[in-house]
Symmetry: C2
Subunit: 224 residues, 2 copies
DNA sequence: AATTACTGCGAACAGTGTTAGCAGTTTACA
DNA sequence: TGTAAACTGCTAACACTGTTCGCAGTAATT
């Protein structure tokens, strides 16, 4: 018996190779590794089928013997990247455990800056991602709340990590000039920027959201 | 005098048209409107220069008389969409004000499902987006904390809204089958899904993050 | 030995953003 | 007014993308 959320065909359900023809010179692992190397260097946009192919010394159409589409390849990349973060076992302090997981994720996205982009697709989770979710749910065992909420919370946590990963990325958002007449508050804010760095907005945000979502929260709906 | 965060050339600094040639048959507003119409119907990927061009009865290269690149067009689209949300004036209750703003944003992203995608580019903010930031900072005037933190908080709020906008979108994340042996906690969670819907995770998350980031937070690092 | 199923890949297709360059049009300046 | 400068609109084209077709070669099955 097994439980799944959909039955779309994906890389994970398709066998890696048949048993009839000549032995393939590549494997999904090779292709995935090459793609990740390219993405680490040049971003997700640099991962074209042709680029991956030349990195492997073959031609682009050959890749379609191993992968059904570029989307498949991106799914493989995500799962391979998620495999790199190995969260510790639960200690019982679920909030600390999950904040530690979030820190791991942030580091993972620093190692692979393309990861946020790859995550925001309509992706299909692979086995390592499933392991990851399972770990997080294990950590959340002491929490008494519906399991759907726990999954939601883990998903939102991951989302927030991507937000921070993006925000810390090299490029700064661009603004047209702010004038004191049209944008008085923004002008004031930009003029005296750099007052004092907040302590740890990342952990702060993660903790806030997790406690907010997973805690009984008697007076939280306020003005609704 | 003015304050800006960068001096990259962008749509906003370039004049809409010169003063020498024949009067243009289009304007940036027309092109932006057409592009938004296409994106509303078919997503951001459907917004190709050629598609926008035929929607306007012209050829693709003509658009480059009004816009320097597709990125420029996307920047215009974002600013036009942001212009549609007109947040109320501050009431003094900053948290409630901002939660209301977040709700407006969420509605805006429901009207324009491409907005999350367009927002997570390396975009350059236009005048309406500046107005929006200014409004938010105005709401945050009663809060005593560094202005950089306020800007960060508004940015993070917007990010969280995009996460929810995506999560509520039609497509469901896909998972390979979860087995009780390999993923015991995930299996249990998926098996008994649908216990009880949480009350309002959106407002919950927004409130949590905002208070977490903007409040003096005497005991917020808790168990750490 | 024949069949079947596979691999690897050159050629090609439909699509993308973008540029070159040209004819025609309007303004600015002499 | 005449002329030069600056602009518009657009056809053709370039370099790129993901992907499919179909063919030659290879290994396992029957």
């Amino acid at each position: 018996m097994s439980v799944s959320t959909a039955n779309r065909t994906s890389v994970w359900t398709r066998p890696e190779r048949g048993a009839r023809g000549p032995v393939p010179s590549l494997g999904r692992a090779d292709i995935t590794a090459a793609a990740i190397r390219i993405a680490d260097a040049g971003g997700l946009a640099a991962v074209s089928m042709r680029a991956v192919a030349v990195a492997l010394g073959t031609a682009a159409p050959s890749l379609y013997r191993y992968v059904e589409s570029r989307e498949d390849l991106l799914d493989l990349m995500v799962d391979a990247a998620v495999a790199e973060l190995s969260p510790a076992e639960p200690t019982g302090a679920w909030l600390d455990d999950l904040v530690a997981v979030a820190r791991l994720q942030l580091g993972n996205m620093r190692d692979h800056p393309w990861l946020p982009d790859a995550l925001q697709r309509d992706l299909s989770y692979g086995p390592h991602t499933m392991d990851f979710f399972d770990r997080c749910l294990w950590m959340l065992e002491p929490v008494d709340c519906p399991t759907t909420s726990k999954l939601e919370a883990v998903g939102l946590m991951t989302g927030i990590v991507t937000l921070f990963a993006r925000a810390t990325a090299p490029q700064q958002p661009f603004m047209v000039a702010a004038t004191p007449e049209q944008h008085p508050h923004l002008f004031a804010a930009l003029a005296k920027a750099g007052d004092a760095a907040p302590r740890d907005p990342f952990a702060q945000a993660v903790r806030s959201v997790l406690t907010g979502l997973l805690t009984a929260a008697s007076d939280s709906d306020g003005v609704g």
